[in-house]
Amino acid sequence: MNTCVGSSTLHTTNLILSPLVPSPSRQSIAITGAGIVSPLGLGWQANEQSLAADRIAFRPVDLFDTRELIAKTAGVVDLPAEKLFHRIPAHKQAFVDRGTHMLLLAIREALAQAGRQNMEDIDAMVIGTSAGAMPLGESYFEHAQQESGRVPSQLSRAEHYQPQRQMNNIAAEYDWRGPVIIVSNACASGANAIGWAADMIRSGRAKRVLAGGYDALARLVFAGFDSLHALAPSGIPRPFDAQRDGLALGEGAAVMLLEAEDARQSAALGDVSGYATATDLHHLTQPDPAGKAAIRTMTAACTQAGVSPSQIGYINSHGTGTPFNDVAEAAAIATWAGDAVAGIPVSSTKSAMGHLLGGAGAVEAVICLMALQGQWLPASLNVREVDPVVRFDLVRQFRRAALDYALTNSFGFGGTNATLVLQRRCA
C-alpha cells in the first residue's frame, strides 16, 4: 500500500540507533527540482525513456587516447553544440570544463522544474566531485612538461583546474553570490553532497540548497581505473552477475533543489527523508567483505527516515560490477534487511550508464526520485547468471511497481559510505 508524505504513520522498527545520526529527525526536506545529465540523455525525460527501454550507453571513448589501455569504452555524454555559458568571455570559454557544462545543464533543469529562472534566495550550493576539472590539470601538466619557458595560458589552466573556480563560472552565470561547498569523498561525493545539504536545512542553517554531483571523463582517472584492472575488458559492466569482471566508467551530473518544508516555494516532487555516512576502514580501495559500514549507513538512514527495510520499495545499489563491491553490498543488504531481503527490489543503473564517480550518488538519487514519481523500477542490465550471493529481488528488466521509499547506496575509494532514503510525494 502506498503511503505518501503527510499521511504515513511512523513505524516502530527494531533497528539499532547508530551513533552516526542524532535521534531521528522527522523534519521533511522537500525536493522541489531535479536535473540530470547522463550518458543515457540530457534531462529527466530522456533518462526516463532510456531506462524504460533498458538501453545501455557504452561506446568507444574519443576524448583521449585509449589505445594502450585494456578498456576502451565508457558512458559518454553528448553535450549540446550551442554555447551554454553566456556570461563567460569568449577567451575564457575554453577553460570551462566539460563537467561544469554538464552541471550547469542539470542545475538549469532543476531550477526550471522548481519554476525558477534564477538562483535568488538559494542559500548555498553543495556539490560533490571526485576529479573536478581534471582535464585542465592534465593540460597544465603537459604544457609545463613541454615548455621550459613561461606559457601565458598556464595561469588560466591553473586557476580553472580548481573546482571552486569552476563553480564560480556557474555562480556568475546566475549572478549569484553564496557559499559553495565542494565535497570530495570519491564515488560517494554526490550522495554526501545531497546529505550534507539536507543536514544544513535540517539544522536550520539554510532554507534552500542546490545539491548534487558531477564528474566528466578524464584521461588520468580512466587510466587509473584501468591500471587497477577495475574496468571490464569487454566494456560491459554486469553488476551482480556471477561472472562480472569490472565496471565501466561514465560521466554526468545531477542536482536537486532541496527546501525546508516551512519555507518551500515550489511544489515538492519528493523528500530526502534519511541520510547517513560512515567510514569503512578495511582498505583504501576495497570494501570490507561483510559490508559493515554499509549496514550502518542503511540502518541509520532508515532510522532517520522512520522506515523499516520492508518499506523500502527500491534500492539503487552502488553496484559497480567489480567482484569485491557486489559481494560486500549484497552481503550488507542481506544482513540489514533480514527476513525482508527477498522482497526488496534492487538494481544497479551503472549497468546502463557506467560509474559516474563523483556524479554517481547524485545521478542515482535523481533516478530514485524519478522511480518514486513514475512508480517504476530501472533494471540491472547485462546479467547472464545471477551471483549466488544475491538474495534480494534483482530487477533485470524495467518494470512498473508501487513504491513509497527508495534507498540509494554510494561507496567510495577511501571507505566513505553514504546512504540516502527518498520518499514519494503524492501528486
Binding site: L20, N168, W196, L281, G414
Partner: protein, 341 residues
C-alpha cells in the same frame, strides 16, 4: 554560521618552520621570512625564477608507524603529525583517540606529487602506470589514511576549496558536534608542494613563494581552550574587484564583535599588489600585534587558513586577548573570525 563558542581544545601544525605548532608560532613571532630555496624542475630546467619553502624532514618522533602510511603522500604525513599533536595538546592519548571522533579534511590541490607522478606514467606508457599510486591521487586519500590510523569509522569527509574553505568545514564541525553526530572533531587542512604548484603560483605573481604543511584543530562543544566566538562570512564574490570592494565590510563587521585590544592575523603575502585591499580594510583597527604567517612561511594554499587558526589559538592562549583572523580567500568568499581566550 553556527560556530559560536565552539571550543578549540588542541592544535597541531607542520609548516616550513618545522613539525610543531610551537615552531610555527616562534617563527611567525620572529617576523623574518624563512629562507626560500629554488624549486627543482625535471627536464631542461626553467627560464624564470621559482622558489619554495618546504617542510623540513620529519623528526623521527613525528613519523607515525602504520601499514596504511607506508606509501602515503607528504600531505598525509603532515596531516597525521598535526592531528596527533592536536590530540595530545587536548590531553588525549594519541595512541587511544577518544570515541566519537569525527574528521573533516580540507585541501585545495591535494596529493599533487603522486598525481603528477601517475600522470607522467600515463603519458609515458599507460599500460605500465602504477596501480599502487593511482588511489593515492584521490582527494580523500589523506582523510582515509588518517581515519584508518586513528580508527575513526564514523563521520569523515573531505572538502576541496580555496585557502579559507576550512571555514566551511568549521561550520559543519559545529553542526556535527551540536547534533551529536560526533563528540569531538578533528579539523585538518593541508597541502603538499611540487614543482607544478610552485610554478602555478608564479603565474599569479612572480614573487609568490609556495609552501606546504598542515594545521589541525581539535574542536568540541565545551572544555578548556580558546573559543571561536564569532565567524563573519561568507561574503561571496565573483571577481578580484568584488573581493577588494567587500573587504572593508568584512573588517567592519568583525571589529564590531569585540572590544579592547586584539591581535590581528592577516593573509599578507608581502606583495603589495596582492595585499593592499586587505591592508586597507583592516587599517582602522587598533592592534596589539599584527602577525602575517603567509609572509613568513610562504603560500601554503589549502593549508594556509588552518595555520592562521592554529596560530590564533596559540596567540589567544598567550596574550589572553581576542585574536582576529582575516581570511579573504581568492576565489569564492571572504571570511574572518574572532578567537577569544
Amino acid at each position: 554560521m553556527n560556530t559560536r563558542n565552539i571550543c578549540i581544545r588542541g592544535v597541531g601544525a607542520v609548516s616550513s618552520a618545522g613539525w610543531s605548532a610551537a615552531a610555527m608560532h616562534e617563527a611567525v613571532l620572529a617576523g623574518t621570512p624563512l629562507p626560500a630555496t629554488p624549486c627543482a624542475r625535471p627536464g631542461e630546467g626553467r627560464s624564470w625564477p621559482c622558489a619554495s619553502r618546504l617542510a623540513t624532514a620529519a623528526p623521527p618522533e613525528k613519523i607515525a608507524r602504520h601499514s596504511r602510511l607506508r606509501r602515503s603522500s607528504a600531505i598525509t604525513r603532515y596531516s597525521v603529525a598535526a592531528a596527533l599533536e592536536a590530540l595530545a595538546d587536548a590531553g588525549h592519548d594519541p595512541a587511544a583517540p577518544p570515541p566519537g571522533l569525527g574528521i573533516l579534511f580540507v585541501m585545495q590541490n591535494g596529493c599533487v606529487n603522486y598525481t603528477g607522478r601517475f600522470y607522467h606514467e600515463v603519458l609515458q606508457n599507460p599500460a605500465q602506470a602504477s596501480p599502487l599510486i593511482f588511489p593515492e591521487t584521490v582527494f580523500n586519500a589523506p582523510a582515509s589514511h588518517i581515519a584508518s590510523f586513528l580508527g575513526v569509522d564514523g563521520a569523515v569527509s573531505t572538502l576541496v576549496g580555496s585557502s579559507n574553505a576550512i571555514m566551511e568545514a568549521l561550520d559543519t564541525a559545529a553542526f556535527w558536534i551540536s547534533s551529536g553526530i560526533v563528540e569531538e572533531c578533528l579539523l585538518i587542512a593541508a597541502e603538499e608542494c611540487d614543482w607544478l604548484s610552485a610554478e602555478a603560483l608564479t603565474y599569479y605573481h612572480p614573487k609568490l613563494i609556495a609552501s606546504e604543511g598542515a594545521g589541525a584543530l581539535l574542536l568540541s562543544a565545551s572544555g578548556d581552550g580558546p573559543k571561536v566566538s564569532a565567524v563573519i562570512g561568507p561574503l561571496a564574490y565573483l571577481s578580484w574587484q568584488e573581493r577588494c570592494e567587500l573587504l572593508p565590510e568584512l573588517a567592519a563587521q568583525t571589529m564590531a564583535q569585540f572590544q579592547g585590544q586584539a591581535t590581528l592575523i592577516n593573509d599578507r603575502t608581502g606583495i603589495t599588489k596582492l595585499d593592499h585591499a586587505e591592508a586597507a580594510a583592516w587599517s582602522g583597527g587598533t592592534w596589539n600585534t599584527v602577525l602575517s604567517p603567509k609572509y613568513i612561511l610562504g603560500e601554503s594554499m589549502g593549508a594556509s587558513s588552518s595555520l592562521q587558526l592554529v596560530l590564533g589559538t596559540l596567540a589567544a592562549r598567550q596574550t589572553q586577548q581576542p585574536v582576529v583572523i582575516s581570511m579573504p580567500g581568492t576565489n569564492t568568499a571572504a571570511y574572518a573570525c574572532v578567537v577569544t581566550p
